[in-house]
Symmetry: none
Subunit: 219 residues, 4 copies
DNA sequence: AATGAATGAGACTTCATTCAT
DNA sequence: CATGAATGAAGTCTCATTCAT
């Protein structure tokens, strides 16, 4: 009664019925970023994320263990992306210390990195005690690495220029604070401060500190 | 939507103290700040606040209309306190423009203002789209006022010193970003950056910009 | 406004049965009717409803959006049931106008329709300003339809019998008031007035108004 | 040290500093009726009542024992008022049985009695199981009295007119149902049915039942 | 007699997580 | 792999009642 020759539903080529694990994960991380930007991290629920991703409710707990984990992986993703970006810029830049430093500066305000969507996530983690701790456990080493590199570059620049009375760590600290302060302003007053103006602010600061290096190249 | 006639099962166990409306309100605002610092704004519930205040659950809705309103009044309180502080410093400072500007700078890092508890609240509002809008509606005019004053002071200083190539608004913008960036670092890395170091960072920046004004008094 | 990451403390103790959306909705509507009859609409809480339905607290907000919506859908269900009942009776009745009118009358006191449980719901909506408005927005068109049909039937009966001094709308209005008044008495004094006696009351009234039509068939 | 001759603060005439108990109670009952009409009985809180009365929160529990008691006293007040009204009309009416019956009918639709505000309270009590029980415990004897009187009047009228096939209790029951049904329509569709039309409906019914009695007196 | 701040039980609602399908 | 119905803890808010003043 059932002699019809059945053919396998899934041929060797159509075996992958659904997206691969990695694709799904990235899809959900992107949706999380979008949702945090749109609804805030407190207004971001499994529903908002999965709805933006166009997937079903329960899938987050399937691919990530929990909401907490989803958030951590989202931050990790952004941190890695950010790191890769400035690190590549730093590596690819010219040989001069200033060039390398400016490459790092510019990386912070690159259109791919310095998005209001992504800034929303960063400041979501800055905004709450518990998440600040998570941030530190996940991102501190990256921040430290950049700080050390920046400090060393400043040291070289100071050496090159024979500047006096300038502490490399002091400048590096200044830069880190400026990145955050300017990004906060970009996030809060979108119309009032553009990425490019922010970049120029930092460069303006550096040109004041290292005047000899900026005499020729106004950038 | 409920209309069941309720009668309290348990008589009052603790004697009730009656305090003036203003005292209770401040008590609850203080508890809110403490709770936000301790648990984050998302982890701050009516329970955490009233427990810290040593009062009963329902009292917040009695004195403030809602949790949302409590948060807004808390921010308003801090904004007013902050404003009064720097504004008084600005008024009381010596007649020189730089003195006034430095007074404003110092006010930002004053031990009463620049507490990690209070910073927690500020950055809680920076951390989420919805709350950023609330922040702006409540604090923008204060921020604007300070920005205008700082800009004008910079203009005067530039005029006095005959500095060239410096844009007053540029410096004022820089200062605002620095306040935020440095405060974020104080909040995130308590051991690594003290209020005093932060203050010195800003002064160091200004001494680089306005060297003539700093020749004699290195502060 | 809360964003604490929650994790259920207790694993699921009862196995979860998954039913179709429509089945669950009807189950909850039935439970709502039962609860309103038992506890009143004010004493009907999400707990009473879900307990009667044997389901968990949160399920009402899952299938209906809110308690308010649950109540509205419950009323809509009863209104539709009632309408379908009298309308079918009206359609199925013999060709005579009186037959059709009596069919409508009888439908009001049919054992499936005229339950104390269901009457409880109707009068719950009559009992409060806000709910009266909801009732009107949901049921008015049905009531209007019946009123128009009844009026037309009365007009035909008057024509047939050559009755004088009788206004069709007047009789229809009388009938509508009688339905409500009698149902209220059934609801309030269960032992004192049966559905059947109520039906006979209305028929008695009509036989007084339209004597010729009742000469032969006393019903 | 304290030899000043003190005079009593409260002279014999100004002793009553505040309104008498009865005045306060009535003030609160009136406010309760207004609130029930405006907010529904479920939306009526101690606050809505005391606010309408222009008094302080805690006063209800002072003059009435509880909210429940306030509601019961409000119903009792209305029941007594209603009873006094129709009973006086019944007593004052002409000697004829029909006159007395019509006096009772008219009393139900008197402008002082048949207010939407007051109807709101009646139907609030009809609308919920628990309150229906309270209604019965408080008002049943009044309703019974009126039913018996009406029945007796109908018996007399039937006797006088020599009507056949009419059951006095049947007519009395009809009248009671009509009162409720018509009042419900007045409450729900204010524009559509006036007190006067309602009164005419009942009279129209009676004129159909007792035609001989209405031959001469048309109104 | 009156006020109104305070209490706390309980209502509605949200939502992370689970799991039958 | 994926879906989405279901659970239940926890949060916000309301409000009858109490009682110091």
């Amino acid at each position: 009664m059932n002699e019809v020759v059945r053919q396998p539903k899934t041929g060797p080529k159509t075996r992958r019925r659904t997206a691969s694990k990695e694709v799904r994960r990235q899809q959900l991380i992107d949706a999380t970023i979008t949702s945090i930007a749109r609804n805030g991290i407190g207004g971001t629920t499994m529903s908002t994320v999965t709805e933006i991703a166009g997937l079903s409710q329960g899938i987050v707990n399937f691919h990530f263990r929990s909401k907490q984990n989803l958030f951590e992986e989202t931050l990790t993703f952004l941190a890695r992306e950010h790191h890769d970006h400035w690190h590549k810029a730093y590596t690819d830049a010219g040989l001069g210390a200033l060039d390398k430093l400016l490459a790092i500066v510019d990386a912070h305000f690159h259109p791919v990195i310095c998005t209001r969507k992504k800034l929303s996530v960063w400041f979501a983690f800055y905004g709450e005690a518990g998440r600040r701790a998570i941030y530190r456990s996940l991102v501190d080493n990256i921040d430290d690495e950049r700080f050390e590199i920046s400090t060393e570059l400043c040291r070289l620049i100071i050496e090159e220029g024979g500047y006096s009375g300038i502490e490399p760590r002091f400048v590096a600290q200044m830069l880190e604070s400026l990145y955050d302060g300017l990004c906060l302003h970009i996030l809060m007053y979108p119309g009032s401060l553009s990425r490019d103006e922010a970049r120029r602010q930092v460069r303006g600061y550096l040109s004041g500190i290292f005047p000899k290096h900026f005499e020729i190249s106004p950038a």
